[in-house]
Amino acid sequence: MSDTQDPSQPTEQGLVPESATQLEIVNVREGAFGVHGSGDTSGYGTVRRPVVMPGPSRAPFGGWFDDVAEGIANGPGLGNAIEKVVVDRGEITFYIQRDKIVETVQHLRDNAALRFEYCSGVSGVHFPDETGREFHVVYHLLSMTHNRRIRLEVRCPDSDPHVPSVVGVYPTADWHERETWDMFGVQFDGHPGLTRILMPDDWPGHPQRKDYPLGGIDVEFKGGFNSAPDQRRSYN
């Protein structure tokens, strides 16, 4: 599924605002409760709703957000490093081009006006329906000098899960990137020792991927069986 949609095309059930120009559709939800083949005659079973993440924002973003956005764009060779900016719930997210991430964080750390000297963490999110950009690697940066927080996101496809490592800029990212590799299978090129960290060294698969089952067995209770948590009927 693409994350851009032609606004001239009719959107499903009119649930998508017409003013939106670029939609971050990550999934489509079917039915009222995520149940299929239940003989539901209420009509709710045919409901189709797209899952839309907050769309890109346009400058001005407000407050110091603009200073940081301009600061990144004015960095050496970073003119088009920002793919898009999302301001949502008072937090700003910069989507950075994959091959520019190291230069971007280097500039963010070293530039006196930006000075994001502290990396809170690196983690991943898996969107299996976002074809071509299934993995999002999320960086949370903190500027203690200016008391600001920003989020960077780098997206990479499942077929080529490589992202440059930022350990050279933020040594603290060492274990975070190892955990992201362990849990999602994203390979951080240039990492000094990218090995599993939480799972055993010989573990097959990457558990936090959405297609990796939670596991668990049915539990018998008074003759009946309770399914494992990921097999149960559930709301969505």
Partner: protein
Amino acid sequence: MSDTLNFEDPYAGTSESIDGEVFNVTGGDWDSIQPTGVDGDRIVINMGPQHPSTHGVLRLILELDGEQVHDARAGIGYLHTGIEKNMEYRTWTQGVTYCTRMDYVAPFSTEAAYVGAVERLLGIEDDIPERANIIRVLLLELNRISSHLIAIATGGMEIGALTVMTCGFRDREIVLNLFETITGLRMNHAFIRPGGVPLDIPEGGMAELRDGVALLKKRLPEYAALCNENPIFKGRLKGIGHLNLAGAMALGITGPILRSTGMDWDLRKKQPYWGYETYDFDVITRDEPDAYGRFRIRLDEMWESLKIVEQCLERLDATVGQPIMVADKKIAWPAQLTVGSDGQGNSPEHIKHIMGESMEALIHHFKIVTEGFKVPAGQAYFAVESPKGEIACHAVADGGTRPYRVHFREPSFVNLQGVSVMSEGSMLSDVIVAVASIDPVMGGVDR
């Protein structure tokens, strides 16, 4: 017996064998062994994951030259339980029950980070009742005291100061009893819920809290009297586990370790949440970036937490009867709990209402408990100052009733990266002190 070994140990037996010299386990003999045996060769030893001094199932791989550590690496993951993955299969409210089990020594901080992120996603941050936030702050600060007591107690135990350990656990019991009074549980509370807290302070709870605070005030000076100027204690801790500001920033280390470098970074002051900006307290810093400085910071922070707890008690007196859960019934968990003859459960009045009086109330109760509430799509990052440093939750919602992804930035996990820098070049016995000064809780490290 080799003539270079000039000590007598009745239990160690002989070190002669047909396969060459055997090194026994009594230690302290490296100078005599070196000329005949390893001759500058380094050995790699494996400390843990079931070692009594490693603060839980932490494995340290140490490259030693004699008793000097040349290379130290931490192996973690022995307590990984997939909490983040499990939370993706539960409702947003049930998630609290899972994340409270991460750092089981400071469970309220984890709950706070998660609930803060959920409330930001829901956009109800400004709707949380004042009294709920007071109870949250009260619990967070009591928890800071109990967590620091554990840090001091286990740290003392690991260097042989067993009195510090018994005192620490004795006083932690005071705090745990208060937790039991307020939440019903001594750990795994799941008490900070999206929207507020499930229960008000019970009858008689305020008196117990006041007694507990008074007792803590009497007991806390004992640690200072016992340790602060104790020559053995200082000898073991001073200058050990040194990490300066640049090192702490590069390694992402927060909490008492960062504040021991003189940096006054405390999220309660810098990025206040839940009304922390209205409380009067000081951020403790020291210019002693070693294990001793961190011990003194923890000691002083407990007094600051007591100050906040006392202010909370005053405010609780002033807000009696005010709501403790957000007004939106589509989010508020229906927790009208009482303790009956058969244990804790929904109050008889609530049961009577939903079972006998209102069909709609029953439907609502059933829907909110089984289905939960939907959270609009998006992501949020909420950071709080835990006793160990910045704990934060990155929550991603896809508009459904369950988290799409939650990731916890655990301070124990991040701070443990400092163990190499803190212990390389030091003696083997100082590794224990360095790890204890980091105060990692493996439940939080491995999640």
